[in-house]
Symmetry: C2
Subunit: 787 residues, 2 copies
């Protein structure tokens, strides 16, 4: 029995031709969109940009997805993994009507067609990817590798949703994509939806073949089955049999998905499903020019970009006209340029159209989180300096209760690469589990088929990709990670920040929840991991992105951390970076003080300062938990030994407060900045990350030339926390010496103190220096005991 009647097959082929026609039109045509007259050189854009190669295959997939959406009434969105699939997604959302609804100027008539064609890859127009401007897209795909992760993120907690994810065979060679296939071990068939990967094996990248197209069918099938999938192969280049094969494959896949869901949801089957996927092997540049200038094009790498160049090679003009006319637009569009009704009827309706599905404009579906009062989780701070249990350990119960309160709405998740416990968030497991669908064994902890935590895969790429997909479809979450290794996803962050920047300017795109990073296990406390685990530079990558979307916080203690996380979870359309400690460390502020301090984001700590009566002699600024500790220890030393010095302590929680108001919405006015940092007094600034970041933020400030910054300067190994600060000149002794060097007022007492501190540092080095003679002293070494 055929999946398609001959009539339906022909209609679908016509629809496909329409999409292909619109795609070629986007790449080439300046005018004459319906070819009502012979193609003339003036009809061609001056600069030809775009990528034909992937387009016809994606058009083919789209029309077939439309069929099954209608047949099964599917709630489905489309993720375009291959690079530069823009023409296909734009063509199809135009054909289904969503494009013109969002952009009325691109109307469904000849004038609209002309604009549709012109705007593509044209100054002032639209990009060549499935960019934010494209209806139905949650995945621009300019950088390759994240389509599958985004798709899985989208279907978590969306049991009715299917994401059809086209994976390019070039993209499939990237590391992130290669491991993303394993996402199927983290999907709960009861409470999550399904991802239908369509591996598009068109055989070529920019100018190379692809690996997966050049291994045997047997190997490819083993690989995909080894990843846990059930592949269905569709292969060929003749349209008619390909339509039938694709329709059959999709029917089979949907049947299998539904059966898996019924088995799990109704029949109590708990075995991990082998979800179906499709391997579509079709020629690159399918239906395009077969031979150009004597060289084969269709089915080769030469079909990757723009196969014909009528502007520079006049003979190509007629080839282009032949190509365009091969789609027989006159059969597809009426005289006014409107898609004929019998074809238009092939598309789904309303929100079932993939360009109009609200999941792909996630802000439309987003509901606020239920968040308990974070003040209820406060650490008791009877007096500044009491030792806490580790700041993230205080945060844990707050996150646990958020997970609990939103258990029913299922719209909050915590992500991490096997580090959630290590990062001090174990309290989560009092209320929820790690979601895991592979085998479990007797001694496993906290694994379950369903749970709010996804941290059982050692892949920062997956955590980031899943979370992005989850947020883009209207939910909330947090990614906890070692500080150094968040650099692994620098480039993914870049792409997400760019997405946020562009979507914020599109009126029809609703805002989504912020992407929240909790970077625990930071540079200063890698006591047993050492140099490889020390890199606080992610904030520098983040600061390069648009000020409208990035926020960076360094809460100095647990109560501030609670306040900051509460704020970040309520915020929208930002990337929030929060750096926090997990080890027992001094606590400074009561909850009331913390709330006030975090609300301002920066402020004088009066209780630690003694300049109330006068101008300070020096400002001791600090940002980050360890720098704050060292700064306050330095202040203690100075207040004991140099009591005549007037010291002001300024703590920075919200790093962006340092920037000028003109550069960042959180930036302090110059007046406020000068009030805090003075206009002419020395500022000794202890900073968590690389010191020059502070200069980058403050170089326009009045007092900038007096700001002296200590921070991580790429020195470290496995050693004590205090020695880490010594190695980087951030320790209390260096900070005091920095003051003495800068404040003439320190006087002779200062000179004397400086010598004492130098001696202390030499003594410290002797303890640390491990050579034979010093062994007995090393034996007496006490961890973190220097005061």
């Amino acid at each position: 029995m055929s999946a398609l009647t001959p009539e339906l097959s022909q209609r679908m082929d016509a629809y496909w031709r329409a999409a292909n026609y619109l795609s070629v039109g986007q790449i080439y045509l300046f005018d004459n969109p319906l070819l009502k007259r012979p193609l003339a050189p003036t009809d061609i854009k001056h600069m030809l940009l775009g990528h034909w190669g992937t387009t016809p295959g994606q058009n083919f997939i789209y029309v077939h997805l439309n069929r099954i959406i209608k047949k099964y009434d599917l709630d489905m969105i489309y993720v375009s993994g291959p690079g530069h699939g823009g023409p296909a997604v734009v063509a199809n959302t135009y054909l289904e009507g969503t494009y013109s609804e969002i952009y009325p100027n691109i109307s469904q008539d000849e004038a609209g067609l002309q604009k549709l064609f012109l705007q593509f890859s044209f100054p002032g127009g639209i990009p060549s990817h499935a960019s934010p401007e494209t209806p139905g897209s949650i995945h621009e795909g300019g950088e390759l590798g994240y389509s599958l992760s985004h798709s899985f993120g989208a279907v978590f907690d969306n049991p009715g949703l299917i994401v059809a994810c086209v994976v390019g065979d070039g993209e499939a060679e990237t590391g992130p994509l290669a491991t993303a296939w394993h996402s199927n071990k983290f999907l709960d068939p009861v409470t999550d939806g399904a991802v239908l990967p369509i591996l598009h094996l068109n055989g070529y990248k920019i100018s190379n073949p692809t690996i997966l197209a050049r291994i045997s069918r047997e190997e490819l099938e083993q690989l995909l089955r080894g990843y846990g999938w059930t592949p269905i192969f569709v292969e060929g280049d003749e349209p008619a049999p390909m339509h039938e094969a694709m329709a059959t494959a999709l029917d089979t896949a949907i049947d299998q998905i539904r059966q898996i869901q019924i088995d799990a949801r109704k029949n109590g089957d708990t075995a991990r499903p082998r979800w179906p996927m499709i391997v579509l092997k079709s020629p690159k540049g399918w239906t395009g020019p077969k031979v150009v200038d004597g060289l084969p094009v269709e089915g080769t790498f030469r079909a990757h970009q723009v196969p014909l160049h009528p502007n520079t090679i006049p003979e190509h003009l007629s080839l282009l006209e032949d190509w365009l006319r091969s789609y027989r637009a006159e059969e597809l569009f009426d005289e006014q340029g409107r898609l004929k009704p019998e074809l238009a009827g092939l598309a789904p309706e309303g929100h079932r159209r993939m360009g109009s599905n609200p999941h792909a404009n996630g802000g439309m579906l987003m509901r606020d989180l239920r968040i308990p009062d974070f003040r209820d989780y406060a650490a008791a701070v009877a007096t500044p300096g009491v030792i806490g249990i580790g700041d993230t350990h205080v945060l844990g119960p707050f996150l646990r209760d958020i997970a609990k309160l939103n258990q029913e709405t299922r719209n909050f998740r915590v992500f991490g690469p096997d580090e959630t416990l290590s990062n001090g968030l174990g309290a989560l497991f009092e209320a929820t589990h790690r979601q895991w669908d592979a085998e479990t064994m007797l001694n496993d902890e906290f694994l379950a088929r369903s749970g709010r935590v996804l941290d059982s895969m050692l892949s920062e790429h997956q955590c980031e990709g899943w979370l992005e997909g989850y947020l883009l479809t209207g939910r909330h979450g947090l990614f906890n990670c070692y500080e150094a290794f968040i650099h692994i996803i620098d480039s993914m962050f870049n792409q997400h920040a760019k997405w946020l920047k562009v979507t914020a300017r599109l009126p029809w795109r609703r805002k989504i929840a912020s992407l929240n990073y909790l970077l625990a296990s930071h540079v200063w406390r890698q006591d047993h991991n050492g140099f490889t685990h020390q890199d606080p530079g992610f904030v520098d990558v983040v600061m390069n992105k648009k000020a409208t979307v990035v926020r960076i916080y360094f809460p100095p203690d647990a109560n501030c951390l609670l306040s900051v996380v509460d704020h970040c979870l309520r915020s929208r359309h930002y990337v929030n970076v929060i750096v926090a400690g997990k080890h027992p460390a001094p606590q400074w502020l009561s909850m009331d003080e913390a709330v006030k301090h975090c609300t301002k984001g920066i402020g004088i700590w009066q209780w630690a300062s003694n300049d109330q009566e006068a101008e300070p002699d020096v400002v001791m600024a600090c940002c980050g938990d360890v720098p704050t500790l060292e700064t306050l220890a330095a202040v203690s030393i100075m207040r004991e030994h140099l009591p005549h010095l007037k010291i002001r302590v300024v703590n920075v929680v919200d790093l962006m407060r340092l920037q000028p108001q003109s550069e960042h919405p959180h930036g302090l006015s110059d007046t406020d900045f000068d009030d805090l940092f003075t206009t002419n007094k020395p500022v000794v600034f202890a900073f968590h990350a690389y010191p020059w970041s502070i200069h980058r933020l403050t170089y326009r400030r009045t007092n900038h030339e007096n700001i002296h910054v200590r921070g991580y300067k790429e020195e470290g190994t496995i050693t004590t926390p205090f020695d880490m600060t010594v190695l980087n000149d951030l320790d209390r002794f260096h900070l005091v010496m920095d003051v003495i060097d800068r404040v003439p007022h320190a006087g002779e007492k200062g000179v004397y103190l400086k010598q004492q501190l130098k001696d202390k540092l030499i003594e410290h080095k002797r303890y640390i220096d491990l050579n034979g003679r010093d062994m007995p002293e090393v034996r007496e070494w006490r961890w973190n005991s220097v005061t």
Copy 2:
């Protein structure tokens, strides 16, 4: 027939016990290294750090590798992929004698044993990974995911070498590792060596199970076969049968490797081999405590770090003593603490010992490249401003001839993620090929089984990992990449820079060739890729690393690019970042001028300046090809319209020249800086990357507050190259307006000119603004035609 005689099996088991004993000793013992007296609390280190979990398995592997090295006289090195395998590699290199040769204080006697134990994860001691301090290591592995890529890099062009690469099953979940299995499609069995992956399936990460241990054996085998490998499984926990099984597996693997090499090298077999690999399934924390405090430890995630805590739980002391004594050290070491001769004899000798193999200290084997005179490749520059063919296109023939000249020594390779042609280096294919061992088809270009270019895999991670492995084993290379997507390997760069920093301080480590990045396809010329492909921030990541190892170059034209690349290929132990254009662009300097300019790294372009007779009114600084073009265009405008202005043009090739001398070895002295930039005149600085980087580098300079920087500020889309500069205020008109705003001397003429330029920009925006009414003007738009 058994692989091992009972006697040999027992001796190997004893050797394994010795390694395990040394590993536990490293984690725990402060004193009493031979347990000559009962274990006392004072024998235990105060702070217990380290990771037991992976160690016994790696010790097991190492003793078995020793056997086959001796049996087959193998040239083999060891790559320790799992995290924190330090104790194992240190123990084994100590047992084989290499450790004491390099570190005579860690002698092969009781005193040496004590120091060996004490130094591990101890202040002033050594890290817990296979760090640079570890003999035989080319792979620290603090960050996970790169062991296989490094291993393949090491065996390229080393036909006699086998790298035994232990892959952790946690590490195997990372993206980079997941795609690295495909490296076998790029190995030439004739001219390259072999990688023997040993997937160590010990089942757990920090606190989670691993995916590959929780899928069925059938699925795992399919996966590995799908990746193109022939897996040999070794599974169990009883030492005796495991020794036999492992020995048999290794004999089989070596036989298969040799047969593959004979078939390819002698019998002319050109089929892609299915190389053997081993899957070793053994308990995590094997031979360690079985149950602690009532909870199972051996074979669970609880064995990951330190399983016993005698410092805080006194009952653990006797458990630790039992554990240590279970290895029966008295049978393994003599009274003086020296390994007994019948065991010592199991290790290979001389450079066959894996800790002493020169490939793992690549600088020992490194030979200088043969490099032709780069001046012979000069672009003719009759007059400044002539349009070139694209700077990287000029570089191509130079690289081609380097590939040719070093064809026989086979020690130079170019790496890229399918971008070598796109980046303008196609000339390489006149002399060599893309190395590729998968299927080829009729229309492929430049593919061959052997070639100097590895660019057929779309994975920046692979390019970076392969190149690192290639350099670390004493060869030379260059990685060409799109500028934006080099961020994908930020974290790998971080680790490599850290490795270079530490090894530079180790006298026994020889310097290696620099890691050279050529970032073409940069932010300003993403005409058809748009916003997703625009990110010049990699240099900010690079600048965070130690000044002793990082260098950054922005050659403004082709002759400068040639000079810079020549310099970088001759340099040692650096990371060099070179940013260059690939599109036809103006050329400024003759080869002689370029050499002089690049030697200084920064300088006044007298021919473009008119301040020869006097102090300048303004300094126009530029860095990068597009900013240089816009700056010179701005200067042209000013010299025409404001001829009374004295303008000095300063071009920066070597970005690090801007830093103070105290911060970077390339830094200009303050006097030299002031000579160039003046102490009080306005500086309008057009920079390739994010503008604040210039402030970060110059904030200590006298004239810093007059430096006004334009650069990329995260604005862009698909548009014309000129419009890209307009969007970011870096265009010639903005630069002139910046001068007029800052130089009172510009006078009324300046005010008038500014108004004219504003009008021009408005006119430009109108061309670019794509709405219906403006269509006719857009039609007339000429690409890059604004002057």
